[in-house]
């Protein structure tokens, strides 16, 4: 029931906003739907805590320890982003960058995007997972080009084509997976794509087919995770789209795509009994981390900078999942959570910073702390959190990843440390220059909503010093499940 509500509310919201999205109170309506979605997610979480994992609707949908916290996280960030987007889009409208008709598209697609991600997370059917992932791209592609500038249209085109080609590879991988599964589970009753059934028989699946399928799935969903060398769309889409969309792309979509990869990895590991899948993920993860660390030095646009930072962090998580084992998986799950919270908070602050300065070029943004202490401190604290300064949660997860790497893959430790140090220096020198110093900038016409920023950062801080027992239990169970 709670699951049905969770999916029905954003879908209804998308339809309602397609009708009423041009009204003056559309932003409030959008926020109301997102709050309702979050309430449904809370109800669902409470039920899972009380009754354990569930399998509903002819086993087509399920909630287990691996996806329950991601569902809650997605609904939470979806809610805070809708709260942030209310004043943000007002300012954009006042600046004349969007009109009412485009706001209607924006609000409707925002809800649809939330729906597709929640569907992708909660479905048990790997085919539906693919469909939902593709739908997530489709619903955001017109949002990336919302401002209709040359750069934004180019970014959206790149996003569409690269992710479209990528996800086509993932479809081929899914077909191969189905092909292997159908021989064991049979085509009747169409259970051969249900993850729970596949998980039960993963030892009998044909190893060669699954190995090949995983290559296609990793490349396909990996494009959406933003793994190098398929990451080209990510910085463009983050920089040119409206900031709330950058926040949900970075904070949520990347997580969901990685979730899809990891679900497939569980099956492939069970079938091949070889470290192939893990090694592939480690390689891609490390490459993304290193490449992003170097590219961070060349950025001049504030949102591009943090887009590359997302690639870097997704690289860390992919690497950690690749290493496997209880500690690394635990760290990867924690890192997914804290990265998503921190990065969306940073985008909120960076979006308002860019609005205040009237540009996204970092050289022209100065003295934020003088103009608006909340924006300045929000950006500074968010940056410190994402760079892994203790006691924020990012430190905990990165520390665990490093410790595991040192014990099991010592050769990777210097690379990890070097890349993290490079990224630290690259981001910190930029942000420090933007936050401190003098400024002649004027404050914004609508007071910015920075409550979400500090709420997120507070949560990240909390996860750094104390992880609630239910969450820790899910992390442990999910880490065991992933293997």
């Amino acid at each position: 029931m709670a699951l049905l509500l969770l999916l029905a509310i954003p879908l209804a919201g998308s339809l309602a906003l397609a009708v009423f999205g041009a009204r003056r109170w559309a932003a409030e309506l959008n926020a109301a739907f997102s709050i309702a979605t979050f309430a449904a997610a809370c109800a669902l979480t409470a039920r899972v805590i009380a009754e354990g994992p569930m399998l509903v609707a002819h086993e087509q949908f399920f909630v287990d320890p691996f996806n329950v916290f991601l569902i809650a996280l997605t609904a939470f960030v979806g809610m805070t982003t809708s709260l942030f987007s209310r004043p943000y889009m007002r300012v954009e409208e006042a600046h004349g960058r969007v009109n009412r008709r485009r706001l209607r598209l924006y609000h409707s697609m925002y809800q649809l995007f939330c729906f597709t991600m929640l569907a992708a997370l909660s479905t048990n059917n790997l085919g539906i997972l693919w469909v939902a992932m593709e739908a997530a791209t489709l619903s955001t592609v017109l949002l990336v080009s919302l401002y209709r500038t040359a750069a934004s249209i180019e970014a959206a085109w790149k996003y569409f084509i690269l992710c479209g080609v990528g996800i086509a590879q993932a479809l081929f991988g899914t077909i191969l997976l189905y092909f292997a599964a159908e021989k064991i589970l049979g085509a009747e009753g169409s259970t051969a794509l249900l993850w729970t059934h596949l998980d039960a028989v993963k030892g009998q699946l044909e190893p060669t087919v699954l190995g090949l399928a995983f290559v296609f799935l990793l490349v396909g969903y990996g494009t959406k995770v933003g793994l190098a060398p398929l990451h080209n769309w990510l910085p463009d889409a983050h920089a040119e789209g409206p900031t709330p969309i950058s926040a949900v792309l970075s904070g949520l979509l990347l997580n969901v795509a990685l979730y899809a990869v990891v679900r497939c990895k569980v099956l492939v590991d069970g079938a091949t009994h070889s470290p192939l899948a893990g090694r592939l993920m480690m390689g891609f993860g490390l490459l993304s981390l290193v490449l992003a660390a170097f590219f961070l030095w060349r950025q001049r646009d504030i949102k591009r900078l943090f887009g590359y930072s997302s690639i870097e962090h997704m690289g860390i998580v992919t690497f950690a999942f690749g290493m496997g084992g209880p500690v690394a998986n635990f760290a990867a799950l924690l890192h997914m959570t804290v990265h998503s919270l921190t990065k969306s908070a940073i985008f909120f602050a960076a979006g308002h910073a860019a609005q205040t300065a009237g540009t996204q070029v970092m050289d022209d943004i100065r003295g934020l702390i003088v103009v608006s202490p909340t924006i300045g401190w929000g950006l500074m604290l968010g940056t410190l959190a994402i760079l892994g300064v203790p006691p924020f949660g990012v430190f905990t997860s990165e520390f665990l990843v490093l410790v595991t790497a040192m014990r099991e893959h010592a050769w990777a430790t210097p690379i990890l440390l070097l890349a993290l140090a490079l990224a630290f220096a690259a981001i910190f020198r930029r942000v420090q220059a933007m936050v401190f110093g003098d400024s002649q900038l004027k404050p914004l016409p609508h007071s910015p909503a920075l409550l979400p920023v500090f709420a997120h950062l507070l949560l990240v801080l909390m996860l750094g010093v104390y992880i609630p027992p239910a969450l820790a239990e899910w992390y442990r169970l999910a880490a065991k499940l992933i293997g």
Partner: protein, 221 residues
């Protein structure tokens, strides 16, 4: 399962035609002809799916054959025709296209696809297993087409042709995916094409052309 030879011959013929149409698209400069070739490929796909359905007795494949007939032979080509008429690019040609070189790369791609599909095809129990290599080849050839084209419309046709290849792979390896998944994929393809249509107008409005070399400003310098 004993297969009537004429049916398996027909399926092989369909697969060969599919591959041929991929090569035809790869070497076609004119956009209008590309759309027609795409419709033809859809028709071949739909027909061979129906034949597979007939020989294997997998009745749900009739539904997918019908679905691809409606979507890929009627709806999508119709949308594309209207788009290129409205955008007035009907007689546009791809000028920067080295056809002999592309064809040579295409042949290498086909050999690669067959080598990749060989071990898997041997495991398959379907009557159509020998065509899995062709399906993979169609996917990769469409990919090649997307890389070599500079016009937005041709890139999109490459994208749709890739989906044709995937659909054929699903039919030949496993007698098709579960219906709900196929419907979802079809919906995504349709919506995607519509969104791309909107895009064409945005691109043209902004750049006065559908040539993609205008829109390569965003790069790391």
């Amino acid at each position: 399962m004993p297969t009537p030879t004429w049916a398996s011959q027909l399926i092989n013929l369909g697969a060969a035609l599919l591959l041929l149409s991929s090569f035809a698209m790869l070497s076609q400069r004119r956009i209008l002809s590309l759309v027609n070739l795409f419709a033809l490929q859809g028709a071949v796909l739909s027909a061979s799916t129906a034949i597979v359905a007939h020989t294997s007795g997998a009745t749900h494949l009739y539904a997918s054959a019908l679905l691809s007939l409606i979507l890929k032979v009627i709806v999508l080509p119709w949308i594309l025709h209207r788009l290129i008429a409205r955008l007035n690019v009907r007689w546009d040609t791809e000028t920067q296209l080295n056809i002999p070189a592309t064809m040579l790369v295409g042949i290498v791609v086909v050999v690669f696809a067959f080598a990749l599909a060989q071990p898997i095809a041997q495991l398959s129990a379907t009557v159509t297993r020998s065509t899995l290599g062709i399906a993979l080849a169609v996917v990769l050839l469409s990919f090649l087409m997307m890389i070599t084209r500079r016009k937005a419309v041709s890139q999109v046709i490459g994208f749709l042709a890739m989906e044709n290849g995937l659909f054929f792979a699903a039919t030949s390896a496993t007698y098709g995916m579960p219906m709900v998944v196929e419907l979802g994929v079809a919906l995504d393809v349709l919506v995607g094409t519509l969104i791309l249509g909107v895009f064409f107008f945005q691109i043209r409005e902004q750049f006065d052309s559908l040539d993609l070399h205008h829109i390569e400003q965003l790069r790391e310098d």
